[in-house]
Symmetry: C2
Subunit: 409 residues, 2 copies
Amino acid sequence: MTFDYTTTIRPNLPVSPKPGGQVPAFNFVGGNMDPALIPVDDLIAAFTSVIEREGPSLAFYNTGTGPLGYRPLREFVAKTLKKKAAMDISADEVLIVSGSLQALDLINQLILKPGDTVIIEEATYGGAMSRLDALGVSYEGVALNEGGICMTALADTLERLKDNGVTPKYIYTIPTVQNPTGTIMPLDRRNRMLELADKYGVAIFEDDCYADLIWNEKRPPAIYSLDAANEGRTVLYCGSFSKSVAPAFRLGYIVADWAALKHIVPMKTDGGTSALSQMVMAEFCQTKFASHVSESTASLKEKHDVMLEALAVEFGTIVEVQPAEGGIFLWIKLPDTVDTSVLFPAAGAEGVAINPGSEWTVDGPANKNKMRLCFGSASKDEICAGVAKLAEVCHREFGIPLRSGNVQR
Amino acid sequence: MTFDYTTTIRPNLPVSPKPGGQVPAFNFVGGNMDPALIPVDDLIAAFTSVIEREGPSLAFYNTGTGPLGYRPLREFVAKTLKKKAAMDISADEVLIVSGSLQALDLINQLILKPGDTVIIEEATYGGAMSRLDALGVSYEGVALNEGGICMTALADTLERLKDNGVTPKYIYTIPTVQNPTGTIMPLDRRNRMLELADKYGVAIFEDDCYADLIWNEKRPPAIYSLDAANEGRTVLYCGSFSKSVAPAFRLGYIVADWAALKHIVPMKTDGGTSALSQMVMAEFCQTKFASHVSESTASLKEKHDVMLEALAVEFGTIVEVQPAEGGIFLWIKLPDTVDTSVLFPAAGAEGVAINPGSEWTVDGPANKNKMRLCFGSASKDEICAGVAKLAEVCHREFGIPLRSGNVQR
């Protein structure tokens, strides 16, 4: 028999392209990391140690220890955030989730319904906007500069919304290595954001998923840490092991007080996040996290510098790019004549994957000359060759750059 | 500052009890398995082998191979289902998910909206009903007997709904080791269900998550395999590694044609299921799955027999219980004077965890004298001691059984 799905499934569902699953030759997109940095031997040692000791507990959902996640991993997260981000939290404020993408989904599910409004950064993670679109939630973009969100712009937006009778549900911010601009918000702005959130009765959703990857390893306290309340906090916080160790573990965490977690836990209907991933990660992190992050960050900084240099060599003075303070990407401005939505498929056809500016900004048309390039997974040689290829495609499509790599095109 | 969550979060959200995370002394609930059966050495060998070979691919989301999941695991699933369940499928019909609970959520998200109606078995997995309740979906229970769903009752229900202008969205069935009754639906009923689904234009959701655990290792073909269409199938299928290997891996799978998968993939917004879990599972299963399942099933059958015997010794002739054909649970009927919703907290206070019949049936009040007891994770000694304790509590609460274990109470 042939079944008519069109009458059975919900209408207007998105469609996946037939999944190919090929990594492009020059992979300047996505939160992927460097295959050369995966600590294979240390992971084998960690797995062997933890499974010899605790393997039988895999027979239980959540290893029999409840829905917040594997306790040693939650304790590691609490200890590390206290040390790095001045967050004075206990393991009971930490919910392990299947990557910070699940954190986004759960926090959205906690707070948002169709018709709601939220505030986001004018340039931000594309997946945050696509989620809001899918939920029927409106978003207002707020201007960014070298210190992240401009607080006057935020105050103006909050006031304007208030005048229109709108209380936004949260301010979504990536304050520590902003995606895509790579900036770190200074302490005074963090305090100011809390004041504004309090004044207007708006929650703050602090996404710190790149915060482990800072060139000088110093950072201001998390906004969460500046929120004095113990119960009834203004801030919901998330982080990730995807950038600090590897995305394929699918491990992230929500930090929130019980007033919020008590509602989030029942929404996490997946029977727990992979305990295998959690156990290996916890065991690895006890002894190796700090040195691994230092090594990764040093390598990423080198690749960041290589990409900046390659952009200068291949594109010359026509690109404007601010060095990042950490992370895995650069946010690049090209002349107005370039449309990166057109560059995107042309470059893709030659094996160069980029994020066009329109997908990473609230006002797409105004940012069509921008693009995000990730240097997380490509090697230095791939970065040089890929940026050269991108310049070649850009010249072919838009006539610029006129010269690159000392070659007249 | 103190933030007022009540005005920010969505109204009427469920609340989690403060998570304690203690496994009860006599753990007769949940899909947990036997800690003694976790193949620690084989898992370490599998992990070492696969991570030495492919560890660097952990740097990529989905190991860089696309959203359907780790290909060797999908190929193993396809090969195994072909052999065991006569499902002539390719790896491209298999989507790896984070446990069959995620399969339930994704298939519900594909099909259901508030106000819809579905058909389920009159006694079924409690988590399936709680999901439907949360979605605002109505369900009709259909009578079961020793061969699973009664096809005359199913036909009557479909006809009655049609008369009322209702087309149910799917028939949810656990045909192979039904939860909680432990029966296996024979081939003729499977064919008949497909005929009825076709006649009334209703999809079938076939949940085979216990199907690896059959005492005689023989089973009828999956309903999916009897559905002749290649595109536009009537049947959506799910299975799990939680029972055959271990729940804490969080690995299950949806089998469906691309007409359905193309919509499910974009709904799986978690950035992929733990590749670490998938890689270890695939490597382990290549050489050890068959022997591990045989060993587990033999052990479960012994514990099944021990629990039946303990029930006979402790409760005598007042319990009615049908031996299961596989799986990890027994469905038990007590005299009408017993209310298992009252027995549940009383037994829980003494460390005996049970599933009261009202939580596992559509018509709770009519099944208050029933209960589900799982023997998956408890040892034989724990089964004997736990059933004795349960009889003692039942006697104290309801005056029956009068005698047990040759002791007058």
